[in-house]
């Protein structure tokens, strides 16, 4: 598959590299599948106010435990709440949390990674703290941080960022270290460019590819970790409709109403799989090692 793409890469030499990458991405079957799966969930989340008409928290005891059917698309839970409304709003929350963690990682991961990789004096200090944060088992650190800050959506975002930013920073740093020694960077230094300009114009644009790949996987981890935290009862406070909360509440009724667990679980799986496929595709296309072969 890569042979075909490589041959075309040569034929279309003058095209903007971003366009070449996009063209190759959209020919990558797994990437397109992943994008499609992810787009379904993101679309549902974004359209939540228009595709649900029942408040996800409205109780209706006489409608409890209704199986999925015509009147209730996804059925109802133990309080007679519409599972469709809860799962759809849960999708929105997952997307918001995932996107926020990714955005914070993009900013602070790049900043810390670039500083550590570019300025040798800062490297040791920054990376020791980084290593220490990475030494903790991820979920345990996230639980400890949310326990300190208190359970809320915002604090879950903060906790997951604290857990994952060191990992992003490490990836950015390793690209920056390689790029810093490149001849074209030294030429820029010789030409009198300042540190800021060198980082921004010459180094970071070339360090983007591995980071973009990392961020797509990170989105998956963030959604998964958020669901895990709320399943454990240390995430957003119930009755907030997160997938983890819905599944935790459905646990006691898995014999009579298994759909309460399976529907949000399948949504979670679709999201994570979509993002994993997307990340695999991005890696195939953007991986620097592939690029050198061109």
């Amino acid at each position: 598959m890569s042979d075909v793409a490589d041959a075309e890469g040569i034929a279309l030499k003058r095209e903007h590299p971003a366009r070449t990458a996009l063209r190759r991405l959209f020919r990558h079957r797994l990437f397109v599948t992943g994008l499609f799966l992810f787009a379904i969930v993101a679309g549902i989340g974004a359209a939540a106010p228009w595709i649900t008409d029942i408040d996800p928290q409205r109780l209706s005891m006489r409608n409890k435990f209704l199986p999925p059917g015509e009147a209730w698309v996804f059925g109802t839970d133990n309080f007679g709440r519409s599972l469709w409304s809860r799962v759809v709003w849960g999708a929105q929350l997952s997307m918001i949390i995932g996107a926020s963690v990714v955005a914070l990682n993009a900013v602070f991961g790049t900043l810390i990674g670039a500083l550590a990789g570019y300025f040798k004096r800062l490297d040791n200090a920054l990376m020791r703290v980084n290593d220490a944060l990475m030494a903790f088992p991820a979920i345990l650190l996230a639980i400890a941080v949310t326990s300190v800050l208190g359970p809320s959506t915002l604090n879950v975002i903060l906790a997951l960022s604290i857990v994952y930013i060191p990992r992003t920073a490490r990836i950015v740093r390793s690209s920056v270290i390689v790029l810093r020694e490149m001849e074209y960077v030294q030429a820029a230094v010789a030409a009198g460019a300042g540190h800021w300009r060198i980082l921004r114009r010459h180094i970071l644009p070339n360090a983007m590819a591995p980071m973009i790949v990392q961020l797509s996987f990170l989105f998956a981890y963030a959604v998964l970790s958020e669901a895990t935290l709320s399943f454990l009862g240390v995430g957003a406070v119930p009755p907030t409709p997160t997938w983890g909360n819905i599944m935790a509440e459905g646990r006691d009724f898995m014999r009579e109403a298994p759909w309460i667990i399976t529907i949000p679980g399948v949504m979670l799986m679709i999201t994570v799989m979509g993002l994993n496929l997307l990340g695999d595709g991005l890696r195939d296309v953007l991986d620097p090692r592939l690029r050198i072969q061109q």
């Binding site: 020791r128 639980i143 400890a144 300190v148 454990l232 667990i261 799986m269 994570v272």
Partner: protein, 314 residues
Amino acid sequence: MVGVAFRRLLSAIPVLLIVSLITFGLMRLIPGDPAAAIAGVSATPAQIEQLRRDLGLDQPLHLQLLDYYRGLARGDLGRSLLLGKGVFAATMERLPVTIGLSLFALAFTLLIGIASGIVAALRQNSWVDQAAMMFAMIGISVPNFFLGLLMIILFAVHLGWLPSGGYVPFGEDPVGWLRSMTMPAFSLALLQAGLLARITRSSMLEVLRQDYIRTAKAKGLPHRKVVLKHALSNALIPIVTVVGIIVSLLLSGAVVTEALFSIPGMGQLLTQAVLSRDYPMVQGGLLLVTTFLVMVNITVDTLYAVLDPRVRYE
């Protein structure tokens, strides 16, 4: 080998120092008054004051830090507020349960991951390869607690083959232990098995392309022998490095698996400590688990250097 182990131990010191500083700082980061937050809403001012003194929170920060390290040097990690016993003792009671679960899951991971990775690599681009990689992708994408729930619904609720939760100590009843741990270990292992299958496959493909494999085939060695002896032993070397990462993922994942299957391990202990605001337990437990993990990684790195003499840690 001793040199590598020693150097890795030295480099772990700053990491563990910062880890201990972070765990120390955690409780002090509670917004507002930590003592009031720990005591809970129903506590009287006198109780809060008492707790503040017990935890040493009435002292200036540098003295608290000094006290903390003095305690660590003596192996004293404080007392759990909930259990009324030492954090170290409580951890030592629960950690073996988690380690047992993680080792069982590790066995599943290695078995499923390496076997499917090898089969996929040997039949590259065939339907076997595609099916194996598809299963790997599913494994990576199914949240372990969702898989656990599905297994409970199928094997415990409907078929009644395995208990839906609970824990039987291995020493009391090995078969009971096996029965109670099979679903937890499997559901915990699948994610790592998926990752490992992908790594094994690419490592194996890389080795199979090398000249010495062609030489071995050319001199007429049976295919089985070439694959199992010549290729596999070299393809497994990079896999050793990821074992450290896998153990870390297993310990992390065990937290939710234990909660799901009511297994009284370290993850359950820490989750309960968090929910009941038992901060000395959270702090000390986190430090111990992380130290354990750092030690596991040092062992893995040392092992790697033994297996592959080309590796030199600077």
